[in-house]
Structures are given as structure tokens and as C-alpha cells.
């Protein structure tokens, strides 16, 4: 799965850059000569790497929108490229020098100083400017979506046709059988056979014969009872086990996009899993670390896939979810500031251990080095998070029996491991041998 997503990304990047290149090559001629000196493709890479955290092309973020920034500056403020070089390389210096426009911008954006980029060469800045001068690529998504929708419809019709044909064929077959039987019956009557008598002579019906055989009845009853008990037991055992529990959340948060497509480490958001018993649901300020600059979803450039569309997961849908986050955290997009009016998100808790169990994430994550996926399943593929493991005591115990304790480079285990492994005559100790099956280790 990982490989596939990677390939998708490559093709997406290639596709986007091709489109961008084509558009640019047309636009280059329309721009003035200075911009022509830069390479917008390189510029885009540089822009994403250095600037995108605070700037977008067409909207205000932490810093101003940068589309056509050069022409805007030269037309409105009479500032040339040299000024831009100086600004990018050392904006605090420019502000300090008392430059009017520099101070105006500085004050307008809450006096948040722009990071100095002394490492960027003039050529790099040229490239970035070239990128900003070119209009951003038009999304081709909508078209593709429409096209795909059409194709989806056509396949639906053909399926129905095939089914209809099958029904007709089946009907014909039935009719033929009826005809054959009638013919045979007619032949039998013609030959003088008494069908009714024949039937009576054949003896008792099967069910009566069965009812009369007590042994068979007994065996069947026992079998029925046993299988009934088996299923009843199975049913009872799943009471309170919420494996596969997949509640609808207030904000549609896709682990697939975050942990899968973008490969964000689980513990970046669930940081307390390293040190605490709780993995912690990330607070909204953690979301805003990234979502301050990621204000819309444009993940799949070639457009959403068929099943995404079937579920309604369009880019607009995801962007709408980001807006829900902004509303909850009280982020004013236009002014790029917090309003102070926040409303905590009420997530529906998926993994519920009863109160009588003590479970500590850090023990498993930090000490034992267990992957999150071991218990939580392929989270990076989950569009909607669900409970992967049964979270029953038997499931816990099995793992404790099978898993070896990670004792390497941990001084705590040095002595106890040496002594215990000698006692049990094993190379590596399981969690169970270390005492991980004792009641009091999890119940107190």
C-alpha cells in the first residue's frame, strides 16, 4: 500500500509540474524580461520549501499573498528587485534601516518578523519570483471528476443490461423444463402408468422415517443443542466487544490523508503516548501547527478517485472540514488571527477500556517499542478511524505471552533479565515471564 501511494504521488507531482510547465511556457512571453530570468519550476520547489509555511500565492496568511509580488511592488511602491533581495535575505535589517514599506508590512502583519534567508542566492529568489509571477495552475480536477462520473454511469447501465439478459435466459430455461416434463407425463399416461400409485408404494415420506428413528433424533437434537450453545457462546462473548466500532465524528478527520499520504508520524500528534498512560487526542493547537498554512485540501491533483466520490470525499469536502477546525479553534482566516472564541471538539471515543483496567501507552510505545499499528491496525489506510483490535483481556494476554521484552540497551532490565532467563532457561523472556500476566499489573 505504501508503495502505491508513493507512486501516486510521483505521478501526481509529474502531472502537476507538466501542467505548470505548459502554462508557464505560455505565460513567460507575456511577462517582462526580468521574470524570464527565473525558472518557475525550480521556483515552485523553493517556494514550497521555504515560503509556503507563511505565504500563499493568492491569499493572505501569516505573510502577504505573493502572486505577482514583484510587479505589485514596483507598480504600487516603486520597489525594485534589489529591495526584494535585501528583504528576503535579511528582513529585520530592512525594517531596522527605517524603510517605510518594510515597517508598514511589519506592522500590518502583527509585527511577526519574517525569517531571514541568507542562504537563498539571488538566482533562487529570481526563480521564486518567476513562480510567483506565473498565475497558479488552474485546477483540472473538476473536469476529470465530471469525466469519471460519466464513465461510472455507463458501467452501471451495462451491468443492468447483463442482469436483464440473464433473467430472460433463466426464464426461458424454466419454460423449457416445464415443457419437457409435460411431454414426459403425456408419454407416461399414454403408456398406461399410474403415477399416484407409484408414489404410495415408495413408502413413508422421509421426515416420518426420520421421526421414527429415535437414535437419529437424539443425535440431531444433541448436535443442534451443541451448535446452538456454540453460537450463543460466541454471541455472548462479543457483547461489549466493540471491534470495528467506527463512529461518525464531529469533524471528518482522515488518518489516511495525514498518516498515510503525508506520512506524519503518529507520535507527532499523539505525543503524550511517549510519556503518559494516555495517547492523548491532540489539542487543536497541534492541528494549527500545520493548518495555519494548509487551508484547503488539494491532495489528489488528478481528482478524487471513484470510491472517494461515491463517499462524497471531494476536495471541497475536505476543505470544508478544515473550515470546521478553524471554527472550533477560533481562527479568523481573513485576518490570520485567533478570535478567542473557541469551542472544543467533542470526539467520540473509539477505544474504550473499562475503568477497571490500567493501560499505559508509554510502557508499550517507549519502553517496548511496539508499533502503534500492532494494536490500532493499519491506521494510515483508515479514512474513518475504527477499532481494529478486540481489546479483550484474552487479546492482551496472548500478546504478553508471545512478545519478547525489549531489554536491549535498557539498564533497568539488565539484572532481572540475566537472572530470570537463567531461571527459565531461555534466551529471551516474554512479557508473561517477566510478570506481565499478574492480575495486579493491570487491575488496581
Amino acid at each position: 500500500m505504501k508503495k502505491v501511494t508513493y507512486r501516486n504521488q510521483i505521478s501526481r507531482v509529474l502531472g502537476v509540474s507538466l501542467v505548470v510547465f505548459l502554462l508557464f511556457s505560455g505565460a513567460i512571453f507575456g511577462q517582462d524580461e526580468a521574470a524570464a530570468a527565473g525558472d518557475p519550476a525550480k521556483g515552485k520547489a523553493l517556494f514550497n520549501q521555504n515560503c509556503a509555511a507563511c505565504h500563499a500565492l493568492n491569499r493572505k496568511m501569516t505573510g502577504p499573498a505573493l502572486a505577482n509580488v514583484e510587479s505589485r511592488l514596483s507598480e504600487d511602491e516603486g520597489l525594485d528587485r534589489e529591495w526584494i533581495y535585501a528583504w528576503v535575505k535579511n528582513s529585520p535589517g530592512v525594517i531596522k534601516s527605517g524603510d517605510d514599506y518594510a515597517n508598514k508590512v511589519f506592522n500590518e502583519y502583527n509585527q511577526a518578523p519574517m525569517t531571514a534567508f541568507p542562504t537563498l542566492s539571488n538566482g533562487d529568489i529570481d526563480n521564486i519570483l518567476a513562480y510567483t509571477a506565473a498565475p497558479p495552475p488552474e485546477p483540472v480536477v473538476a473536469e476529470a471528476a465530471v469525466a469519471e462520473e460519466g464513465s461510472g454511469d455507463s458501467s452501471g447501465i451495462s451491468n443492468e443490461l447483463i442482469l436483464g439478459a440473464l433473467v430472460i435466459i433463466f426464464g426461458l430455461l424454466v419454460m423449457m423444463l416445464v415443457l419437457v416434463q409435460r411431454t414426459l407425463r403425456r408419454i407416461a399416461v399414454a403408456n398406461g402408468l399410474d403415477l399416484e400409485k407409484e408414489k404410495a408404494e415408495r413408502g413413508l415420506p422421509l421426515w416420518k422415517a426420520f421421526a421414527q428413528n429415535q437414535f437419529l433424533v437424539l443425535v440431531t437434537v444433541v448436535l443442534l443443542l451443541l451448535s446452538g450453545a456454540y453460537f450463543a457462546y460466541g454471541w455472548l462473548m462479543q457483547v461489549g466487544v466493540d471491534q470495528g466500532y467506527m463512529p461518525i465524528q464531529e469533524i471528518h478527520y482522515s488518518h489516511k490523508i495525514h498518516a498515510g499520504d503525508n506520512k506524519i508520524d503518529c507520535k507527532y500528534c499523539h505525543s503524550s503516548a511517549r510519556v503518559s498512560k494516555h495517547s492523548g487526542i491532540p489539542s487543536l493547537n497541534v492541528c494549527m501547527n500545520c493548518h495555519k498554512s494548509i487551508y484547503e485540501y488539494k491532495g489528489n491533483a488528478e481528482g478524487p478517485s471513484k470510491e472517494d466520490l461515491a463517499n462524497g470525499y471531494t476536495n471541497e469536502f475536505y476543505t470544508g472540514e478544515i473550515k470546521k477546525l478553524y471554527k472550533a479553534v477560533g481562527w479568523d482566516e481573513d485576518n490570520q488571527s485567533y478570535t478567542g472564541e473557541s469551542k472544543p471538539v467533542e470526539w467520540v471515543r473509539i477505544h474504550n477500556l473499562p475503568d477497571l483496567v490500567y493501560f499505559n501507552h508509554s510502557q508499550h510505545v517507549s519502553v517496548a517499542g511496539i508499533e502503534c499499528q500492532t494494536c490500532h491496525g493499519p491506521v494510515e489506510e483508515m479514512e474513518i478511524m475504527y477499532q481494529y483490535a478486540p481489546l479483550t483481556m484474552g487479546w492482551c494476554i496472548n500478546c504478553h505471552r508471545e512478545t519478547n521484552v525489549k531489554v536491549e540497551d535498557n539498564e533497568y532490565y539488565a539484572k532481572i533479565h540475566e537472572e530470570l532467563s537463567k531461571k527459565y532457561g531461555v534466551e529471551e523472556l516474554t512479557a508473561a515471564q517477566m510478570g506481565g500476566l499478574e492480575c495486579g499489573k493491570c487491575h488496581y
Binding site: V275, I281, P282, L284, N285
Partner: protein, 1040 residues
């Protein structure tokens, strides 16, 4: 040798004909399950509408309904922070150092917070003075979450805004500025440099401001005596660790005497080291915690104590003085003087008599002894109250000279003996404001009730002892619309400073002397460098002449004369005292403290008048044991100077000096309290002139009071070797096999040591951790801080008075108190045999009367008992569902969710430490304590399960804490050091009586203690191999 002493738990046990005692000896549970009550009554059964068939239908339906309902789990919401505070990680505790300074308790503590909620108080081991939290301080965190707290300012019963209150008060204060009427501030003792400075500035601004301090339980006499001698209104400090001879005249210094905090030093000197330990002689009337710990306790009425003190002074100075005291007291004085002469520089004399003469004499004695445990150079400031100042204020109020009265931290309408006079005087004051955390007797009569912060929500500072500063910092934002007094003062002074800034400025300027503020805040305490102390020594030495002993000799000799002329005012002598659990009554709404059993009487949820057996017989006062094992007592009426307190329950207290009675202050609160918490009687009306000794008449009244007493619930059942004790002489001279006998059992008709016989094969416990707990009976003073700490750590429910009376208390840790008499009455036996004729020296006529009554002056021993975590636990083998099992680390584990409640384990436990949840104690209106409201539930420790109905629970040896220690070490990849493993009780014990640790770590302290000669296990002959062990109590008592 001492193991053949007779031990007993209550005075009734000495009566061989007491049927209840007999029943308790035979039965495990006091009360039978009342099956007969609901099944035996045939008439009732047949007359009921519900017949058997219906009953079965209901059972079937409810079972089906319950199991169907269980199929669908509830939807649980999880709400993360919007902006997570930097230092809060859900699931990880934060600790903050702060200080409690509520006017009665002063202690530097650490506060454990979880997700921003304070949930437990712990000792601040960095603090050099008052770093130990007593039971009340341990319990104070629950008072933060008291549902009856005042949630905002109130004017005449109606809630108002702070801005309105500010406007009214400011207008009034400004109007008073030039009017000639005074503005009075009536407050608790703050001992706070910043508050003093702030009040001085307030005075400057508003002119005629009169700041009066009073303590509900006053140390005025001690303060006055100290002031007369040293020129400063403070209290001498004592270091009992350095003392070799301690003589106390009615000073309960292990409890609340002069602000308390002396027990940890005392305990350190009580553990025999190199054959030496301190000797403690106590002359007192009530059986106090301190008297219970004394090597020799002499029961004297307060009047006799005064004479005895005078005689001691005279004898030390080689003179003699008149006055009548009993012969045994005279002998005791002579013995004490001999001891003091042997250890001149290491003897200390203290007194709790609220009498300036007595206090002055004691200061003089200590100074002349040159006692190294006596410190007048750096005195304590934690009591400042002035009776004179208060009386003057009330007089001023009455005469209409007071324009405004602003009160903080005091509840005069409850604590003043002349409350009605105060109320009348209050009527003549134009403006009255009372700061209080809850609605109380005083807020009811003042115009404004200003909702005050709890100390865990406040900023502040204190100077507990000269040069020893500590800081108060909030550990949670104000839960309600409350404000601390100092913040309000700042607001009324039109200052825009916060009190935090104010403290910081004060400290930077006057206290820290260049030291780091953040460090001081982190530590919670700051000891100013030698400069200030030296300075003080210089000034005082030059002005008062500290180095000369007899500066105030003239005064002392007259004081001694006055003392020796002490006469009883007729009638009984009443000594008012404060209980370890309740103090001055500020925290009367705290269910933990209400349920905390008194260390001596083992009575919870009550105060009572203690009388001696002899007086009880003459006054016809009785104590009886009811059929359910509860204790009943007569009611009495107490009258002091025409003030009568009626319906005071009577408790016959062994050791109470005949002719004296005792009554605890701090009970009988009635306003703003939940019905359950309105316990006991208010003794403050008898506290006239702030004197703890009163002449009283006592009279029996009708009716019997039902006590919730843990006294007789479980007896020793004839197993006399539970407490082992010996004397220092035997301890030093004889082999431990003699004074710490290992019980013998018969194996193959051979007498062998019980410890060598085993029914089971032992597991190999040498690998990994093996936890043991050591309890030193010498260091344990019985103070009970561990009991409350255990309740807080382990979510132990409060069950209420009725349930405690039914012996259904839930404390995981109890401190058993045993009385003992002289060795098996042998002295009496000899005496009896030597009777010769009816009269004369050896005549039986008077002789029988002289025979010792064991209840007159027993010795006392305290023994904390929790689950002993037996390696061969009897409870584990009888559990039908394997709900209780043993861990490799030595802990006996209890899986509540497996338990089906057969109680076989409780039945089979030889130590009676298992507790059964008879009811659901949370979310149950029948038990309307803190677990029944959302606010009170905030104190619950999230790492420990809240138990449900029908399961057994017991001490887990704080497995949540040991597991956390292990996990922290694993995460850091390091070996665990000794001292890291702690339980709630071992952490709470500032006396060092409870030591916890890993015995497989041969370097650890607990491993060393296990090898001690004094080590023994409870009921060794049962062969349970407990992981808790005790140390034989050694008394420095050569006469026994």
C-alpha cells in the same frame, strides 16, 4: 519479657462478664446478616403483594433487561484541550510546592496535580521547618472541592458582583477616612511578610486602621511570656530530636501545641540508637497523643500540673516550695530532676498550660538548662493572636468607635466564647465584611460575605520561623468567583498590581537578598542566609541580654510562687483541646476528617467529654456496648461560669486524671454545613478568656448517645503477641531472643520456631523487586497522617457515621491503639497474697482499694495495620474465583472485577484488613459525601479504580505507585535507587516510622531494617510470612 503483658483495647474488655466482648471474641463479623429479618417473618411474607411467582418474574425480567441493555455500549465523548498548556500532559502528574497557612495549620507541602486538578498533598522534604503534613493538611485538598463553598460574594443573602462590593466598601472606607471612627481588620495569624506590608500600606492610606489578630485556639499566654522575656511576640522553637529528656506539663506537642510540627524531630530521638533514646515524661489531665507516647505518664489535673511545675523549678534550683500534689507525682518529679541533672544540656521542658506564669517558668527553666533543643533566637511566628487586642476591639465596636470591620480567616461567631456579645457589637458597626470560603456563622451576621479562595487557589507567603520563609502558590485557577483577602485589599487601595506582583516585589526587596525568585517558588521554601539571623541575635542579645540567664529572675520567682498557689475553682477541671482530625473546626465540612478516628478514643464523627472511670462511677455516667458492637454513652451537661453546653456525650477515657474532664473544640458547626457534617457539640462557649482550663460542673442528663467508635470492633482474640514491647534496659542488656521471642510450635513433637515451619513450598522471590514495609512502633506517634493520605491516594470512600458504627469503615490503613497495664497484675497478686488482717499497713480493708485499677493510667501503644501482603496469604487460598492473588513482587493483589463478594477472604484474614463494599458509595444519595457530587469527585485519583458495591477491597501496597516508579525507570533505562519506591503512607510519615522499599536491593534501608533485632511479624505463629514487619516498641522506662 514484656510479652506477657495484658493488652486490651477498651475499658469494657477488662470486665470478664461483658457479653458483647465475649461475642466479639467468638465472631468474625459483629453483626449477622439479617436473613431472618426478611425471610423469617411469615406473616409479612404472605401478606405482601409480591408472591413468589411474581418475584421470579421480576428477577427474570430484570436479568434479561440488564443483559440486553449491556449489549449496547454507551457513547463516550473525549474532549481535548483547544490549546494545551505547555506543562500539562494528560496522564502525567505535576507537583507544585506550596504552603498551607490557614491560621491553624502551617506546613510546607507539595501538591500533586493531575490534568490541572490538585488531588493530593505530600510532605515537602526540602523544608526544614513544618515540612510534614498532618492529617488535616493531608485532608485539606478535599476542602477545595467542598460543594458547600461560597461561590461568589454575597450581600444580605443575595449574590452580587465583586465590582459592586468593591464600590460599596471603597465608598464606605473613604467616608470613614476623616470621621474619627476606626477601620478594623480582624484576621487569622498570617505570619506573612507581604501581608504585613500590605496592611501597613492600607493603614497609611486609610488612616485609623486597627489590625487585630486572633487565633481560635489561642497561645496568648505563651506569646506574652515569650514577649516579656525576649521582647518579641513569638513562640520559642524546640528541636526534640536533640533532646534526651523531655518533660511536658500538659503540652500536646505531638499534635497541635503551639502550631505543631514537632513530631518528626521527636520520633527521630525515640528510635534507640547505640543503646540510647530520649526519655519522655508527661504530666497531663487528658489522655493526649503526646501522653500516649510518653515513657512515663503522670495523670494530674491542670491545677496539680501547675504545682508540679513549680516544684520542678524549685527542685532544679535546689529550693523547695509549698503546694499539694499526690505522692506519685512528687516521686515522678524527683525522678525527672535526677534525669535532668544527668543530661543538663539535653533536657527540655514544655507546657501547654495557658497561663503566663507557667509559660514564663518553662522558658526560664529551658534557658537555665542551656538546652540545645531550645531555640529562642529564631522563634516561630505561627501564632500571633492577642486576646487583649480582641477584647479592646469588641469594646470599641460596642461603643460605636468602629466604622468598618473586615474579617478574614476567622469565624468569631463560632469560635468566640462571647459570640452573642460580638454579634451585638457588630450591630453597631457601619460596614462589616467577612472573607470566608464557605457560608458560616459569621457570614450570616455580616453585611457582606466575601467569597475567599482556598489556599490551593491563592498566592501568599509565610515566615513560619525567623528566617524560614515559604511561598504559597496557586495550583488551580479559582473554581468559583472568589478572591483572596489580599487581592481585595489591593483593589480597595486602587492598586492595579496583582498580589503575585506584590509578593514578588516584597521578596525581591526584603527577603531574597539576591537569590532567585523562581528557585524559591520551585522549592516552596527559602531560608534566608545567616545575615538576618545573626542580625537578630545581635539586636536581641544586646537589648534583652540573651546570654544572661536570670534577667527576668524576679518575674520568674513570683511566677513560680503564683503557680504553686494554684487552686481549683471548685468542681471538675475541664481541659479543652483540639483533635488531630478536626483542629479548630475550619475543616468541619471535610468528610475525610470527620471519618478519621481519633487516635486515642478511636471515635469518629463526634466530640465528647472524656471522664475518668472513677469520676464516671460517682457521676453515674456509663459507657455501654450495644448489641451491634457500637458504643453508647450517657449525656452530660457542662456548665462553666453560667454558660451551659447541653447534651454532651460522655466517653470514659482510661488515663484521664480523676477530677478532670476533657472536651474537644472544633465540633458543633451548624451553619452552611451538610446535615451529615453537623456533628458533635460546640465547646467554644466554654473557652472563656481563651483559657483551655476551666472550672466546670458536670451533670448527667437523660438519654444515651450513639458513638461511631472503632474501638471494640475487633479484639485481639487472645493473641497477645501482636504488640511486642520491652524496656530500654532489657533491650540493651539482654539477647533479642528474650525480648523479641519467636513463637514456638510443635513439629514432630519437637518445639521448633514457628518461622521454620511451612505448610507450603516457598516461591523463589530473589529475582526482581520484592517489596517490604517496615513499621517502627517506636517512631510511630499514632498521628494518623498516613490514614488520610491513604484515603486520598486510593479513593477510599467515606461511609458516614451510621456505617462506621456498624463496623463498616473502609479505611485501608488503621492505627490500632492498645492500652496495657503493668505486667499481668503481678504486683497486685503479690500484694493480695501479702494481705494480713483487716486493717493496718497490710490490711485488706484498705488494701483492695489500693490494688491497681488498670484503667487509671494505662500505657498506650499504637500500631498501624494495613494488609500484611502475606507470602502465604490465607485469603488467597479461599477465594473461589481467584480474585485475590499474589504477585512476584510481594504484593497481594486484588482484582475487583473478579470479586463476587463471598467475603471468605475477609473471614480468613488473621489481620482483619479486608474491607467489604456493603453499598455503592459513589453517586449514591444515601452517602452524600464528596463522591456524590461532581465537585468532590475531582479529588479522585485517576490511577485507582473506584470500587463498586459488593466487592472486597484492601491495601494494595500502592501498586499504582510502585508500578509507576518501575515504568519511569524503564523509560529512562536506569536502575531504581533506594527511596524511589514509596507508598502513600510511607510518604506521608514524616516521622520515619513507615519505611518502604525493595528487600532484594541489599543496599536499601528496608533490607537493613529487616535484619534488625527488633524486627518481628504480626502473628508469626500463623505462618503467613507477611511482607510487612514491625519493630518491637522499646520504652525508656526502667520502672516497669
Amino acid at each position: 519479657m514484656a510479652s506477657n503483658k495484658k493488652y486490651w483495647k477498651s475499658e469494657a474488655e477488662l470486665n470478664p462478664n461483658d457479653s458483647i466482648v465475649e461475642a466479639l471474641r467468638q465472631n468474625e463479623f459483629v453483626e449477622e446478616i439479617p436473613v431472618d429479618e426478611f425471610l423469617g417473618d411469615k406473616e409479612k411474607l404472605s401478606s405482601t403483594n409480591t408472591n413468589r411467582r411474581d418475584f421470579l418474574k421480576y428477577v427474570g425480567f430484570s436479568t434479561a433487561a440488564a443483559s440486553l441493555a449491556a449489549c449496547e455500549g454507551p457513547v463516550k465523548k473525549s474532549i481535548p484541550y483547544v490549546v494545551q498548556p505547555e506543562r500539562i500532559i494528560p496522564g502525567v502528574a505535576n507537583y507544585y510546592a506550596t504552603t498551607i497557612a490557614n491560621g491553624f495549620d502551617f506546613a510546607s507541602v507539595l501538591v500533586k496535580t493531575r490534568e490541572g486538578r490538585p488531588i493530593k498533598i505530600e510532605n515537602n522534604t526540602d523544608a526544614k521547618v513544618n515540612g510534614g503534613a498532618n492529617a488535616r493538611v493531608q485532608g485539606s485538598v478535599l476542602s477545595l472541592y467542598d460543594s458547600t463553598r461560597l461561590q461568589g460574594p454575597v450581600k444580605g443573602g443575595e449574590a452580587i458582583e465583586w465590582s459592586a462590593l468593591d464600590a460599596d466598601v471603597k465608598a464606605k472606607l473613604n467616608a470613614l477616612k476623616g470621621s474619627g471612627k476606626q477601620i478594623a481588620l480582624l484576621t487569622q495569624t498570617y505570619a506573612s511578610p507581604s501581608t504585613s506590608k500590605l496592611i501597613a500600606e492600607f493603614k497609611e492610606m486609610y488612616g485609623s486602621v486597627n489590625h487585630v489578630v486572633y487565633d481560635a485556639i489561642s497561645e496568648d499566654a505563651a506569646l506574652t511570656a515569650f514577649e516579656a522575656r525576649y521582647g518579641e511576640r513569638a513562640l520559642a522553637d524546640y528541636d526534640f530530636e536533640k533532646a534526651e529528656v523531655i518533660v511536658s506539663f500538659g503540652a500536646d506537642f505531638l499534635a497541635d501545641w503551639q502550631g505543631g510540627g514537632y513530631d518528626s524531630g521527636y520520633s527521630k530521638g525515640r528510635v534507640p540508637k547505640n543503646g540510647k533514646m530520649s526519655k519522655h515524661v508527661q504530666f497531663e489531665a487528658n489522655m493526649s497523643l503526646t501522653g500516649a507516647n510518653a515513657d512515663k505518664r503522670v495523670a494530674l489535673t491542670p491545677m496539680q500540673q501547675k504545682i508540679a511545675l513549680a516544684k520542678l523549678y524549685a527542685k532544679l534550683n535546689g529550693t523547695s516550695i509549698g503546694g499539694e500534689i499526690p505522692e506519685y507525682a512528687q516521686q515522678a518529679i524527683d525522678a525527672v530532676v535526677a534525669e535532668i541533672d544527668k543530661n543538663k544540656g539535653a533536657a527540655v521542658v514544655v507546657t501547654g498550660l495557658q497561663d503566663v506564669n507557667a509559660q514564663a517558668v518553662v522558658l526560664a527553666i529551658n534557658e537555665s538548662l542551656g538546652s540545645k533543643s531550645y531555640d529562642a533566637k529564631a522563634p516561630k511566628y505561627i501564632r500571633q493572636g492577642s486576646v487583649k487586642g480582641l477584647n479592646a476591639l469588641v469594646a470599641d465596636m460596642k461603643s460605636g468607635h468602629v466604622g468598618a470591620l473586615i474579617m478574614d480567616g476567622v469565624n468569631p461567631m463560632y469560635t468566640l466564647p462571647n459570640a452573642s456579645e460580638f454579634e451585638e457589637a457588630l450591630g453597631k458597626v457601619d460596614l462589616s465584611v467577612s472573607f470566608s470560603t464557605s457560608w458560616n456563622e459569621t457570614t450570616e451576621v455580616t453585611q457582606y460575605a466575601a467569597a475567599a479562595n482556598h489556599y490551593l487557589e491563592s498566592w501568599g507567603d509565610t515566615e513560619i520561623k525567623k528566617g524560614h520563609y515559604s511561598l504559597i502558590q496557586p495550583t488551580i485557577k479559582e473554581l468559583f468567583d472568589t478572591r483572596q483577602f489580599q487581592t481585595a485589599l489591593l483593589a480597595w487601595m486602587d492598586s492595579d498590581k496583582s498580589y503575585y506582583d506584590y509578593i514578588k516585589e516584597t521578596w525581591d526587596a526584603d527577603v531574597l537578598g539576591g537569590a532567585d525568585w523562581n528557585q524559591a517558588l520551585h522549592d516552596g521554601v527559602y531560608v534566608s542566609g545567616s545575615n538576618s539571623i545573626d542580625q537578630f541575635v545581635e539586636t536581641v542579645a544586646s537589648t534583652v541580654g540573651l546570654d544572661e540567664v536570670d534577667t527576668s529572675g524576679v518575674d520568674v520567682s513570683s511566677a513560680v510562687r503564683n503557680l504553686s498557689k494554684a487552686v481549683s475553682g471548685g468542681g471538675m477541671e475541664l481541659t479543652l483541646y483540639s483533635k488531630v482530625g478536626m483542629g479548630d473546626g475550619q475543616q468541619a465540612g471535610n468528610p475525610w476528617l470527620q471519618e478519621f478516628p481519633d487516635p486515642i478514643s478511636r471515635v469518629s464523627w463526634d466530640n465528647y467529654v472524656t471522664v475518668s472511670k472513677a469520676d464516671a462511677i460517682t457521676l453515674e455516667l456509663v459507657n455501654e456496648h450495644a448489641a451491634n458492637g457500637g458504643l453508647d454513652g450517657s449525656y452530660a451537661k457542662l456548665t462553666v461560669n453560667g454558660v451551659t453546653v447541653d447534651n454532651v456525650p460522655v466517653l470514659i477515657q482510661p488515663g484521664q486524671a480523676p477530677g478532670s474532664i476533657g472536651l474537644a473544640l472544633g465540633y458543633g458547626r451548624s451553619v452552611g454545613m451538610k446535615e451529615e457534617m453537623k456533628t458533635g457539640v460546640n465547646a467554644y462557649p466554654l473557652y472563656q478568656g481563651f483559657n483551655n482550663v476551666q472550672s466546670v460542673t458536670i451533670e448527667k442528663t437523660a438519654g444515651m448517645h450513639e458513638f461511631a467508635c472503632i474501638q471494640l470492633h475487633n479484639t485481639l482474640m487472645g493473641r497477645g503477641d501482636i504488640i511486642k514491647e520491652t524496656t530500654l534496659e532489657i533491650f540493651n542488656t539482654k539477647d533479642h531472643a528474650e525480648w523479641n521471642k519467636v513463637p514456638m510450635v510443635s513439629l514432630d513433637h519437637q518445639e521448633v520456631e514457628a518461622t521454620s515451619v511451612d505448610l507450603w513450598d516457598s516461591f523463589d522471590r530473589s529475582i526482581g523487586h520484592h517489596f517490604n514495609m517496615s513499621i517502627d512502633l517506636n517512631a510511630c506517634t499514632g498521628c494518623g497522617a498516613c490514614v488520610v493520605a491513604c484515603s486520598a491516594e486510593n479513593n477510599v470512600p467515606v461511609v458516614g457515621k451510621e456505617e462506621v458504627r456498624r463496623s463498616r469503615d473502609m479505611h485501608w490503613l488503621r492505627i490500632d491503639r492498645y492500652y496495657s497495664s503493668e505486667d499481668t497484675f503481678e504486683a497486685d497478686n503479690t500484694k493480695k497474697e501479702e494481705f494480713d488482717g483487716l486493717s493496718g499497713d497490710k490490711g485488706s480493708l484498705g488494701g483492695f482499694g489500693e490494688l491497681e485499677d488498670p484503667a487509671t493510667n494505662p500505657q498506650v501503644a499504637f500500631q498501624p495495620v494495613m494488609c500484611q501482603h502475606c507470602n502465604h496469604a490465607p485469603c488467597e487460598t479461599v477465594c473461589p474465583v481467584a480474585a485475590t492473588s499474589h504477585g512476584r513482587q510481594g504484593q497481594n493483589q486484588m482484582a475487583y472485577n473478579r470479586c463476587v463478594g463471598t467475603r471468605y477472604c475477609a473471614n480468613n484474614c488473621p489481620y482483619k484488613v479486608r474491607r467489604f463494599n456493603w453499598f455503592l458509595y459513589n453517586n449514591n444519595d444515601e452517602f452524600d459525601f464528596h463522591m456524590n457530587n461532581d465537585l468532590g469527585k475531582m479529588v479522585i485519583n485517576p490511577d485507582v479504580t473506584v470500587r463498586s458495591r459488593g466487592v472486597i477491597e484492601k491495601c494494595s501496597m500502592c501498586i499504582q505507585k510502585t508500578q509507576k516508579t518501575i515504568l519511569d525507570a524503564k523509560r529512562d533505562g536506569r536502575v531504581i535507587k533506594d527511596g524511589e519506591f514509596q507508598t502513600a503512607c510511607s510518604m506521608a510519615c514524616s516521622n520515619g516510622a513507615i519505611v518502604f522499599g525493595d528487600v532484594n536491593d541489599k543496599e536499601s534501608k528496608v533490607a537493613e531494617l529487616k535484619e534488625s533485632d527488633r524486627m518481628y511479624h504480626l502473628l508469626e505463629h500463623v505462618g503467613t510470612k507477611p511482607n510487612v514487619f514491625y519493630h518491637v516498641k522499646v520504652r525508656n522506662n526502667n520502672e516497669a
